[in-house]
């Protein structure tokens, strides 16, 4: 039960009020009203912060577990710091405890009408459930998808790989997307790695938002291409062509894969 995990974080952070926001696969996300060291931080959302906790996974061998928890926490913090420096939308890090797998960070996002957090997934699900087809495919959706594509493009132009791109790892704040969840992130200039990053997202969109996935994926790629063209002086166009070509390769590999029963 999650109660066991909640009491763990309360042991690690005594007297800090926490409220569960979500249970992801490898981490629990809490909301808190407490900033660990400043009263009035220079952040958009004051009085509201996120604590991300990677609990020890009892199914893993302790050695594997400790190494994964520590490496991912360190990796995520460094990655986020770099994003902040580069001005790529993502939460800022406030504080971290690597061995315990805790990261304190800025709160991003708003509540949707149905009370869910404004991730791209929840927003699209909300539209698909409550709105007409026209509204699911209107200019605003298109614009958000393109912005997400641009955001990922910026990331890749800096040779940074997210590693787990899904519609739940994109948070919208006033329809401006920000990336979250960098536990599987890495650095690479290889078009192969960028293509796999895009492929993972493409498949996540297909399986999670199957009805309109063709449109969403197309817009995402258009945004991705657009930002590369803006940086053509730095070789962006060439990079886009290479990555796109690799993406086609990776897709094909995907289809060839289920060869044996």
């Amino acid at each position: 039960m999650t109660d066991r995990l909640v009491s763990q974080i309360q042991n690690h952070l005594p007297n800090i009020p926490v409220q569960v926001v979500s249970q992801g696969a490898e981490a629990l996300v809490f909301q808190t009203s407490v900033h660990p060291y400043i009263d009035k931080p220079y952040l958009k959302n004051q009085g509201k912060y996120i604590i991300k906790y990677r609990p020890s996974k009892p199914y893993r061998h302790p050695t594997i577990d400790a190494s994964i928890t520590k490496n991912r926490t360190i990796g995520e913090v460094k990655f986020m710091n770099k994003l902040t420096k580069l001005g790529i939308n993502a939460p800022s890090v406030i504080s971290a405890d690597y061995n315990r797998g805790i990261i304190w960070m800025e709160f991003l996002g708003t509540e949707l009408t149905n009370g869910d957090i404004s991730s791209l997934k929840n927003w699209l699900w909300y539209l698909e459930k409550n709105e007409s087809k026209e509204k699911c495919l209107n200019d605003q959706v298109q614009s958000v998808c393109r912005k997400v594509g641009k955001l990922i493009g910026k990331l890749h132009l800096n040779d940074m790989i997210h590693g787990d791109l899904t519609s739940s790892n994109i948070i919208l704040e006033d329809f401006e997307p920000a990336l979250i969840d960098f536990g599987l992130s890495s650095y690479s200039g290889l078009s192969e790695d960028k293509a796999v990053d895009l492929y993972v997202l493409e498949r996540a969109i297909l399986s999670t938002h199957s009805v309109f996935s063709d449109h969403y994926n197309q817009w995402l790629l258009e945004g991705y291409e657009e930002i590369h063209k803006e940086f053509s002086k730095q070789g962006g166009t060439k990079k886009y062509v290479e990555t796109y070509r690799k993406l086609e390769d990776v897709r094909l590999r995907g289809r060839k894969r289920s060869m044996l029963g």
């Binding site: 063209k229 002086k233 070789g235 166009t237």
Partner: protein
């Protein structure tokens, strides 16, 4: 049904063949122990044994058909293997040209921005 009525046949035609090739199992001794349907050498050489031999043909119309089918299968296999060999030698030359073409024609796109 009498055993004489159950004779399997096969025909093969292809654009490059003038006439259809007809297979005839003939009147020889037929058995389910085919020449071209044995277990592969790799298994035997690795110390394996053949546990999957076909059962012997029964002395019934369907049993006789099975044995004849094995003969027919042998004939077809030999015939097709021979054709594949011919194809291969024909294609060897073509393939070389193809590699040349691919290397020459599939250049990298120029990045117009630089």
């Amino acid at each position: 049904m009498s055993s004489s009525t159950l004779i399997p046949t096969a025909e093969y035609s292809a654009p490059d063949l003038k006439e259809t090739h007809k297979f005839d199992v003939g009147n020889g001794d037929h058995s389910t122990d085919g020449q071209t349907t044995q277990i592969s050498d790799i298994v035997i050489n690795a110390g394996g044994e053949d546990r999957d031999k076909p059962s012997e043909a029964k002395d019934t119309p369907l049993g006789h058909l099975r044995a004849k089918l094995t003969t027919l299968q042998d004939q077809v296999n030999v015939f097709l293997t021979e054709r594949m060999k011919q194809d291969k030698s024909k294609n060897a030359q073509k393939e070389e040209e193809d590699i040349e073409r691919r290397i020459l024609d599939d250049g990298v796109d120029e990045d117009d921005s630089d």
